[in-house]
Symmetry: D2
Subunit: 312 residues, 4 copies
Amino acid sequence: MSLPAPLTGVVPPLCTPLTPGGAIDTRSLTALAERLIGAGVSALFALGSSGEAAYLDDRARRTVLETVIGAADGRVPVLAGAIDMTTARVLDHARTAAGLGAGGIVATAPFFTRTHPVEIADHFRRLRDGAGLPLFAYDIPLSVHAKLTSQAVLPLAADGTLAGLKDSSGDDGALRRLLVEVRRRGLDAGFSVLTGSELTVDGALLAGAHGVVPGLANVDPDGYVRLYAHARAGRWDRAAAEQDRLAALFALTDAGDPALMGGSSSALGGFKAALHLMGVIDCPATAAPQVPLGEEAVKTVRHVLEEGGLLP
Amino acid sequence: MSLPAPLTGVVPPLCTPLTPGGAIDTRSLTALAERLIGAGVSALFALGSSGEAAYLDDRARRTVLETVIGAADGRVPVLAGAIDMTTARVLDHARTAAGLGAGGIVATAPFFTRTHPVEIADHFRRLRDGAGLPLFAYDIPLSVHAKLTSQAVLPLAADGTLAGLKDSSGDDGALRRLLVEVRRRGLDAGFSVLTGSELTVDGALLAGAHGVVPGLANVDPDGYVRLYAHARAGRWDRAAAEQDRLAALFALTDAGDPALMGGSSSALGGFKAALHLMGVIDCPATAAPQVPLGEEAVKTVRHVLEEGGLLP
Amino acid sequence: MSLPAPLTGVVPPLCTPLTPGGAIDTRSLTALAERLIGAGVSALFALGSSGEAAYLDDRARRTVLETVIGAADGRVPVLAGAIDMTTARVLDHARTAAGLGAGGIVATAPFFTRTHPVEIADHFRRLRDGAGLPLFAYDIPLSVHAKLTSQAVLPLAADGTLAGLKDSSGDDGALRRLLVEVRRRGLDAGFSVLTGSELTVDGALLAGAHGVVPGLANVDPDGYVRLYAHARAGRWDRAAAEQDRLAALFALTDAGDPALMGGSSSALGGFKAALHLMGVIDCPATAAPQVPLGEEAVKTVRHVLEEGGLLP
Amino acid sequence: MSLPAPLTGVVPPLCTPLTPGGAIDTRSLTALAERLIGAGVSALFALGSSGEAAYLDDRARRTVLETVIGAADGRVPVLAGAIDMTTARVLDHARTAAGLGAGGIVATAPFFTRTHPVEIADHFRRLRDGAGLPLFAYDIPLSVHAKLTSQAVLPLAADGTLAGLKDSSGDDGALRRLLVEVRRRGLDAGFSVLTGSELTVDGALLAGAHGVVPGLANVDPDGYVRLYAHARAGRWDRAAAEQDRLAALFALTDAGDPALMGGSSSALGGFKAALHLMGVIDCPATAAPQVPLGEEAVKTVRHVLEEGGLLP
């Protein structure tokens, strides 16, 4: 299914449920996609950071895409993450995704290598030409270790290389300046700016963002769909109240003991533990070598879900 | 003049006008303070980053404080930055400020040294005890090279060590979680959360921030006072429109050629060039060894001011 | 060919010559391998950072390995880089390398993802078990954005998970402490510490390193073989003089204009321009999207080679 | 006492002994200086990082300088750290030091502020002109958060702005390239390159460094004086053996529990605990708000000293 331009609304980055043995749990993944579509999301994003794309080998990635695109069944478009170090490798993933029916590709600037603005522009242009699908730039400095500046993004928006930006930089000041400039140049009808910062969605929509890609929407898609609807209707106080509730719910990403695991393992483990506790997926396992949440942490997740009204 | 608890509203971090010879230009500084008070700000913040505190020797810092406190003349309280590496040195500045009649102290965690959460808590407790004035923690990772976490801040808010936080981290997601937690713990009546991110003030106020400390308010205090008023009255669309205008105005901080100077010199030079072009201060010089803006850059600043409606 | 334990000597990380169209130039790669073996290196390392592994897709990587292993023809062992984000993906590369006859695997800690010491240890243990080949940890913080500490490395050396370390961290102080501790624990007979810091090889060997993996050895293998021989014979002044000469030669990595390209493009472009000028490879192209060296830069490389006695 | 050009040999950065109440313990500081001079060091460096300069207020800094210069009594020159954020503030410290009889000044590039190469050059030129004393650039990226590049240092060495460099960057590859270039330009007779990396002194001297500024020399000055003498006499194997012993001794900087304190507190606490256990200083206290070593940590320090032959 092809993408609307600009893409708007709630676009959850799907978690990737695994079996206890580490294989893709296609039944649970289908159930998760179904739940998100039922909540009213406008597209699905498979193989992002929340989807543990970095941990999945190529075969597993293909299974994920086939499953999500099959589950969506043309009801909503599916964006496919094509996460790899540099152009040639990203293109391999992008072409696979195109062949499987993805509606768009999400790719970062090169990483592991040290790079340069000229190379980043060339990288995205080659990806757009080679993949033949709408391309979203994925700005995630926590992983790529450099921010995509608006100087880098705006020319690529203007010449049609990029269909949009997923901004997971957390730099909402830079996002504001980008949005003001996108509108000033008349690009906002075709270039979609999506915030990946799930804690400031009300502010981002107030600032003019087109949509949101919140990892936490795996757990509470209805909350983000409500938040988005309040914002679009100008009910900013209710949008803020919903965002506050979701910000409190975000505590489930901190359940892991920092002495035993990193923040990423804790967050991804928290999402999956919540989905498991809520009965959406069969097994809360995260991919190796991530540290699994301990019993105490799972209790914390349960408690946060109860406080947030997501478990009785 | 003593501080209200919590401190709210617009609290501009004053630029420090200099003479061509590098001395404090007390006439211009008084004029700047007068202009800000006239615009309706709720307090003044002297000797912050926008005030080039790091570049001023102790004598100059004292002159700045005397001048600003004299200009305020009891109409609004004056916060004093006490910027130094560690506790004993910060305390020296804080005591000077207390003696001169400052209403509160703004201090960072230790820097230059490598530090630890236990030391940071001890640092702020010693500052609060030693200075005898309300204490604001200044979270500015660009300078201190570490973020003040909410785990660090919340206990110090709860036990009265901190009267507030100036959050110049740009991490609005962390700010949102902090605000939710401050309210959940019932601390928001006494602990003031001020955003220093001048580009997302509408979102921060929507999220419940008490006020804002925008460097750009040196140039356009009326804009920030209007933005604040719109937000407090629930006119969020108008608040956002005002913020958009201010975000476009922020382009004056980028006027300097990045091949010739750093971003900080460009921003501080841009503020001062604007104040000079608008007739508020007599000389646009920044403190040595910062690189001064060239002619082209000053033209850009003028153009941005004209576009923003601040110059005819 | 299997690896000696510990591996010692000069182990060049081979550049990957490309055709003008971007394919692997197997003729030139064979010639390069032949030249290095002829100079007396003790092993070859294919698909490292100097080999642009991050830029090569899986098919190209396989071609590189086949070519280098074929060229070595059992005369020296071949280490294969298995550069990817996390365990499952690295294992795919490692198994391919094992199938092609590599003598050992070189892998980093997880990257792109945020990780934790417990996960890093688990990662290397799974790699060792899954690949069935001697495993070298690759410490390259410039790419991985975290240093492999000696606390992480020593237990993995002691239990046989790691056959060695390629230290490209540039932190020679940490290297010294590691070497002292490796000997104190009696691990130095089986665990090989190789420095990747081509500018301090004399000091690293004086400190007890087993060998060296210098990118610059693509250009001047004889120099590094002489340096190694001087050091092993205790001729430290001659080793230092040779190292000084090689440090001057390293200027060829800086030939690219920093306004036009990043340091990595300049360095890899410099190696390849040198090999091309010296007639070892047919085409100096680096992989997309790297910026190629301009004419001026190639002149600089030629000049440096002439000064270093490598071109008449 | 004026400095020789170039300055060579062992130049310990003195610890600053404190009384239990936090005042400068001038008796212990004199004893420490006496011990170091007796061991044969070539100069003393007061108010560096090892001297906790960042933690001392101006009065305490003055007391330290008076004490050390008095203790030296013209037998060796005294370098004075002038550690502060920017030019005007550093100059205040530098002038005080000049007035007290220091032989040279050691200063970093600006910190806390964001800066630019042009500003850094201007900074050092103003310091040299204003202080009227030989000036050493202090490269300590762990504190300043940027490295002093050789592009920055070489012109300042060539025009006489800098009398030397104290390189605490730990980047021995960059140090090697700098040394090669200093000699190529004929600057090594007047410009002194001192390594602050106490774990690679043998390699740095082999590379041509003029001397060394090792914090650990507070604890074992004889070891560093022997190491220096071996190196100067070309006895490289004995130099390396001495360096190995000192690298093992360096374990006393790790005695602090990382869950309770930062690495800096542990290192400075370890030096002082060692000096106290050896009877050189009266009290092991470090300046607030650093976390003091616990009993277990002090036991570890004692054990390391015993293993290193410094306690019976």
